[in-house]
Assembly symmetry: C2
């Protein structure tokens, strides 16, 4: 006797859900059953929002952030300071900075970071368009807001080298103790960098 | 200056994903970005499988398991034993039993369990159709495979009372130590039930 299983359309849905990041086989099954059984579920709305987002959202040709046919919220905002250009690895890195309210200039998303192990070389990043944007605004401050890991360091060093001959000021966001973190929880490298970055008060 | 955020279609997608069980705001954002950026993602296929599952899958009128226009895998299988009827709370309870290979009869999904606190009363469960199915097969064994919690106990007692006057044999799945579990990890109630359920060897 064949052991019963979900009908094929449910199995197909579970298969698609299982491919999402962070969703294991058991969560995929739970989500699929909830979508089909719960009165609060609206799978049609989820399907529609998927199709709409896929069809209408694409990277901004200038900065690499998410844009629609109506344009790019970052590039189109006339109130942003053109003389500050914040370079981030991923488009998703923009939002934490925006939410912090600590920056009001323009952004440039590289689309990754240099990583020989992952076969990411300079040609894979949005560097030519960065250089063009820097050259278009003499004296611009280029803030390298890259990660504090090895690849972030390497990418920052590479960009600093490329930008050295351009008319711009190159800065890098600070590394040190995270807010609320005590010294006893900080690793050695963080403490080294916090010490190196000390400032007069 | 307005702080930038995802374009509206992305925010709508995140909003729909956030409603899924077990998906928090951060996972929803991560899944949405992955769906839009990863070359491995196929949001169109996910959308299509959602719509197809919603449109083609509905509860079987007889047993309450997931069925399609082609029928119900459980009710249509001619090899299953009509003289054994396993009563479960949810349609999803069928699959663990099927995967265990321990049962080869018919199923009946109640669609819930009695729970005054959640306002689930007998009228909310698929009890009339259960009684009809029991009456249709004189001498059938009705196996109550309900949970070992208070509501499962109450539901089992209620069903046993309803079935007492029918021509059927009522059994209940055993409670005791879970496989692989030592006595030191078992709670008192589990041990009480394991002791009460002891059998000669």
């Amino acid at each position: 006797m064949k052991r019963a299983d979900f009908p094929e359309p449910v199995r197909a849905l579970i298969g698609e859900l299982k491919r999402l990041p962070g969703i294991g086989p058991r969560s995929a099954e739970r989500v699929a059953v909830w979508l089909l059984q719960s009165s609060k579920a609206d799978p049609t709305a989820l399907a529609a929002s998927l199709v709409k987002a896929r069809e209408t959202v694409s990277p901004c040709a200038a900065c690499g952030f998410f844009a629609t046919a109506e344009g790019c919220e970052l590039c189109d905002d006339p109130k942003r300071d053109d003389h500050m250009l914040c370079v981030v690895e991923q488009a998703t890195d923009v939002l934490p900075l925006e939410r912090s309210g600590s920056f009001r200039g323009r952004y440039h998303c590289l689309g990754g970071k240099l990583s020989p192990l992952d076969r990411v070389s300079p040609e894979d990043l949005r560097i030519p368009s960065l250089l063009r944007r820097v050259e278009a605004v003499p004296g611009v401050e280029v803030i390298l807001a890259l990660g504090a890991d090895v690849e972030g360091e390497a990418t920052a060093n590479y960009l600093a080298e490329m930008l050295r001959t351009r008319d711009c000021r190159i800065t890098r966001i600070a590394q040190g103790l995270p807010a609320g973190g005590g010294l006893e929880h900080a690793d050695e490298l963080t403490l080294v960098r916090a010490m190196q970055g000390r400032r007069g008060i």
